[in-house]
Symmetry: C2
Subunit: 245 residues, 2 copies
DNA sequence: ACTATCCAAATAATCGATTATTTGTCAAGG
DNA sequence: CCTTGACAAATAATCGATTATTTGGATAGT
């Protein structure tokens, strides 16, 4: 038997385009479904940061047994959204200013590096994917009054950033970036209902994308770094407003 | 209740110095113990890369029930040593030339970045830890004839590299570096029984450490990068010898 | 009043058995 | 001869019950 040989950190089935019309959404087992629901619950803030997760209550809330619940939680640990301690159980990872700052710093390092590699190695297919992701994002309205538009926008925004770096040919790096994006999104969903007035985010995305497909390495990387940095600065302000250290 | 607030990716209890004389080695639950044993089994090559992990057999081998077995395996997924697919089970992550090259590249980027941050932010305590880790490593003999010395050396080597970057004040980054080191160690344990003749590894470590505590950023970073690079090159040759693509 | 110790309730971990899914094999049809 | 479908064996996922650990509170001793 020849192993598939995707290597470690091959992209998980999550958020695959799901091209087949069948109802196979890659979330077969209860454990998988739970992982998704819990992830969404944490990123959206439904499960408060830092709070303990009582297995018994969660079991009743989600109407499942312990085994798949632990299974699901275990996956969120890989995502950095949940922490675990022997005999003490699970808790939602805390948020803090230091944590946000680290995430921002690391995104500036990792994501920018991944973009550079993508520009160096990406093929035409990748270019096309970038332009499509950009278009879909910029065509999607973000109306603070309607939460469902926010969620949709977040999804496409995440997709855009991941697509940008998807050409780098480095599964482990992509995995790291995906984690950082997860962690970052929790802050954004919690604190940014609307983008600050002095930014034109659509334009920022366009500049990055256009620089990327034009293979203007330094320009695109610089734009991305600034983009990430600005988001970090914005979020930091919002955290300060709410008195979070 | 005030949350401990270590933030995501706070260092796990693994390989803590275990200062207390008590038999509490932080591996309380069967799941934890299994995770350690499995990790060791994978890194040492006892469990072949790419091979499927049959839950039933593993259950009998380790004489445990399914729940803790899954628990343990789940943790190794976070470590990148095990892959999982719904309804298809677990398998040991494959090794490949591409995978090794990515690990090496990422170590050059991120471990070096972490070292730079450590030099920028580390305190005297950190400096002391570095010198101690260096001393212990260099004083430990590595005799290819006696496997137990190799294991001991690997442990101290790992400890040295982690200590070098432990002052960076960035838990997530440390977590990533720890993973990369894990993945890298599997290659070394599998392919390097002795260091290639043209290297004086002890001296390389000394140069890095001394540059680090002297806060000679560029020098220390450069030495570390070369050190990682050389190891990568060596391993690549050994992989080629064994016909691994 | 303060600390330490012991109990009971709450919670996490584990087990053995059951259910669901996948995989390999073989026969029927093209 | 190849493909397709059905079946059976192998394997993974889940459940409900049991066991072990932690936590909070009451009690006794200083």
């Amino acid at each position: 038997m020849v192993p598939d040989h995707d290597g470690a950190f091959a992209p998980t089935t999550e958020d695959a385009p799901s091209s087949s019309g069948f109802l196979d959404d890659g979330k077969n087992t209860i454990g998988s479904q739970l992982a998704s629901r819990l992830r969404e619950a944490i990123i959206s803030g439904e499960l408060q940061a830092g709070s303990k997760i009582n297995l018994d209550k969660a079991r009743k809330t989600f109407n499942v047994s312990l085994s798949p619940l632990r299974e699901g939680l275990a996956r969120l640990i890989s995502d950095g959204l949940v922490e675990f301690e022997d005999n003490r159980g699970y808790r939602v990872s805390s948020i803090s200013l230091a944590n946000l700052e680290e995430i921002t710093t690391l995104r500036e390092e990792f994501e920018v590096f991944a973009l550079r590699e993508s520009m160096r190695l990406g093929d035409v297919e990748w270019e096309g994917n970038v332009m499509r992701a950009l278009h879909r994002l910029n065509r999607t309205e973000r109306d603070a009054a309607r939460p469902e538009t926010l969620e949709r926008w977040e999804e496409l925004h995440r997709e855009f950033h991941l697509t940008l770096i998807s050409g780098c040919g480095k599964p482990i790096l992509l995995h790291f970036c995906r984690l950082l994006l997860n962690l970052n999104d929790r802050y954004r969903r919690a604190f940014l209902t609307r983008t600050s007035g002095d930014r034109n985010v659509s334009q920022e995305h366009s500049e990055i994308a256009q620089g990327a497909v034009a293979r203007d390495l330094d320009y695109a990387c610089d734009m991305l770094r600034q983009h990430i940095h600005r988001t970090g600065t914005n979020l930091r302000k919002h955290l300060a407003t709410k008195g979070i250290l």
